[in-house]
């Protein structure tokens, strides 16, 4: 997706490509609204939100190889902190640029708190513990309405303040520069800025010393320690960095929706985000972006199936919601069989799945060479 940025043929071409992409991204919500209707602009907003979440989880799962099934907990923490500090629930109305960093910090702190006791766990065991952590947070949010009402329980928190920048509230439809901006349009641009920032950070991390240490730990933790890598701190950093992105996305989600409840933060969300990474190509940023966009947009597109059924058969025979799950399962199975490395895998990931093909022949060849 962003692959062409890596190998620009000439500088002018690269610049042209970037300008084209920027114009396209800037006009996208209006193009989508004209073509598909306003509800699709909201889908676009969610796609960006999931790109942020998937890039965050990709640090933990894709780079460091730590299978985290409780990622939604950080999303929930970011969202709830936003709701506590900017809604009538506690009567606090702090601006979003104060609340968002606090939410990110809280999520990062919990990332370390989750990471610390699980440092010795790998693979399935880590997955189970993190899964439990995700559920613990959700159940806490569900039950912390008595004796002191902190989370308002299953009813959730309502009337969360929309983001306001320079006196413009993102919650209302407004006319600016002669163009009508709906709430979904405002949030699209806000989320786009955050997505681009996340992309930038994700790329920088990947090429950094820390990024190389994460890959080394993923490949062989003992060998990584023998290279002088502080495996404990580097793993905790992966948990914390991933959680920070989750917390930011959570805050943005709360402001965007205006309402949050524990129902938004189920295990299903964690699995969905993980699927985005696996589908797109674990550890590879363009793949992760594609996976997040596909898995947000496609299920929405499936909703049309209900309308078609009603038009053709007079009633809805198969609920599109059920169909969504079915197609999801089929898609993942097909992926595992035909393209286990993901849609746009990294060079390294591709090796992992297709390296074996050449090994036997080389083993043989090198044995003979060693006589020479």
């Amino acid at each position: 997706m962003l692959e062409f940025l890596h190998r620009p043929r000439t500088r002018a071409q690269a610049r042209a490509a970037i300008i084209l992409l920027a114009v396209l991204l800037a006009l996208l919500p209006f193009l989508v609204e004209a073509g598909l209707g306003r509800s699709w602009v909201r889908v676009l907003d969610f796609a960006l939100l999931y790109v942020i979440l998937a890039l965050g989880l990709n640090i933990v799962v894709g780079y460091a190889g730590l299978l985290d099934l409780g990622f939604v907990a950080f999303y929930a923490l970011g969202a709830y902190l936003y709701a506590w500090l900017a809604s009538p629930h506690f009567g606090l109305h702090l601006p979003f640029w104060v609340v968002l960093p606090l939410g990110a910090g809280l999520a990062g702190l919990f990332g370390v708190l989750l990471g610390a006791p699980t440092l010795r766990l790998r693979g399935d065991y880590l997955a189970i513990v993190t899964l439990g952590f995700g559920e613990i947070i959700r159940i806490f949010m569900n039950n912390l309405n008595a004796p002191v009402n902190i989370t308002n329980g299953p009813q959730g928190i309502n009337l969360i303040d929309p983001v306001t920048i320079a006196g413009v509230s993102f919650g209302k439809t407004q006319e600016l520069f002669g163009i009508t901006f709906a709430s979904a349009h405002f949030y699209y641009y806000l989320f786009l800025v955050f997505t681009l920032a996340t992309l930038f950070i994700a790329y920088r991390l990947q090429d950094s010393r820390i990024g190389r240490a994460w890959v080394a730990i993923r490949e062989d933790e003992v060998a990584a320690a023998a290279m002088g890598i502080n495996t404990r701190n580097i793993k905790l950093l992966a948990f914390a960095m991933g959680a920070v992105f989750g917390g930011v996305a959570g805050g943005l989600f709360a402001a965007f929706q205006g309402f949050i409840s524990p129902e938004s933060f189920t295990l299903w969300e964690s699995i969905l985000i993980l699927c985005m990474i696996v589908l797109g190509g674990m550890g590879h940023i363009p793949g992760v972006v594609l996976g997040a966009v596909l898995l947000t947009v496609l299920p929405e597109a499936l909703r049309y199936l209900g309308d078609w059924q009603r038009a053709a058969l007079g009633e809805v025979v198969v609920d599109p919601g059920d169909l969504r799950m079915l197609l999801f399962g089929v898609a993942l199975v097909l992926m595992m069989v035909y393209r286990p490395e993901g849609l746009i895998p990294s060079r390294q990931r591709k090796r992992e799945f297709h390296a074996e093909d050449g090994v036997a022949a080389q083993e043989q060849a090198s044995l003979y060479d060693s006589r020479a």
């Binding site: 080394a216 023998a226 090796r351 390296a355």
Partner: protein, 263 residues
């Protein structure tokens, strides 16, 4: 019986120079690595039952013994990978309780059993990981030296390490450890699972590395090879040191001959 005789063969390291070692006087002085009463237990099972061991600067010492004698456990304890009791000193500094990465940063490099290369990285990327903690200007020169020592690695620098043959992976593991510019190189069974020709090649290289002044502790099941290249040797049996002495003497020892050399 578990005290090691001091070796008369002690070479000064041209890499590190003749360093005046810090630490207590007595047997700790001059020994780069000094181990006293090392014990390792897995649950209730004693894998290492209180061994003493020393490696002098520039020496090539081997630790031989059968499968399950506790050799690998000893190495894992020395590099901080498992908890051990006793006293481990490296250049006068106590290593007990230090995490593995801290010990690695002090200049102890382990080539683990089964090589432990990064299989999905290329040869060049693996070697670069060896120099991960280094910030000095000598990295490029050391890389050239490793490629010089193992021309095979130079040929395959862009190849994914997991697709190398067993012998090449062993070369890579040793090369990567050398990229750390270690003061002490620990080799765990470098001959394991390799074709005889490859074993001979690896051992030639080990001799060359020792000749360049790197201090080595070599753990081997293949006693014959290990005794041939080393200056001093320890023989380990069910968690204890049974014999210790200059390798040439141990080679003539009837007990060693019957148990390990098949004479």
């Amino acid at each position: 019986m578990s005290t090691a005789p001091d070796s008369p063969l002690r070479v000064e390291s041209p890499l590190t120079g003749a360093k005046k070692l810090l630490g207590r006087p007595g047997e700790f002085l001059e020994s780069l690595l000094a181990v006293k009463g090392l014990k390792v237990a897995y649950g209730g099972i004693q894998a290492v039952r209180g061994i003493d061991l020393s490696v002098g600067e520039g020496e090539l010492v081997c630790l031989i013994g059968a499968n399950g004698a506790g050799k690998s456990s000893t190495l894992r304890a020395l590099t901080g990978l498992i908890h051990a009791s006793g006293d481990i000193r490296f250049a006068g500094q106590r290593l007990n309780g230090l995490p593995a990465h801290a010990i690695a940063r002090l200049g102890v490099a382990l080539v683990p059993e089964g090589r432990g290369i990064f299989p999905r990285m290329t040869v060049a990327e693996n070697l670069a990981m060896g120099a991960y903690t280094r910030r000095d200007a000598g990295v490029a020169a050391d890389l050239a030296r490793v490629y010089d020592l193992f021309p095979r690695l130079a040929e395959r620098r862009g190849q994914v390490a997991g697709t190398l043959s067993g012998g090449e992976q062993q070369m890579l593991a040793i090369g990567r450890a050398l990229m750390r510019r270690p003061r002490l190189l620990l080799l765990d069974e470098p001959s394991m699972g390799l074709a005889p020709l490859m074993v001979a090649k690896i051992y030639e290289t080990i001799k060359a590395i020792a000749g360049a002044g790197v201090t080595l502790l070599l753990v081997e099941q293949n006693a014959h090879l290990a005794l041939q290249v080393s200056q001093r040797a320890y023989v380990m049996e069910s968690g204890s040191i049974r014999l210790a002495g200059p390798s040439a003497e141990l080679m003539r020892d009837p007990a060693v001959q019957s148990a390990y050399l098949g004479a």
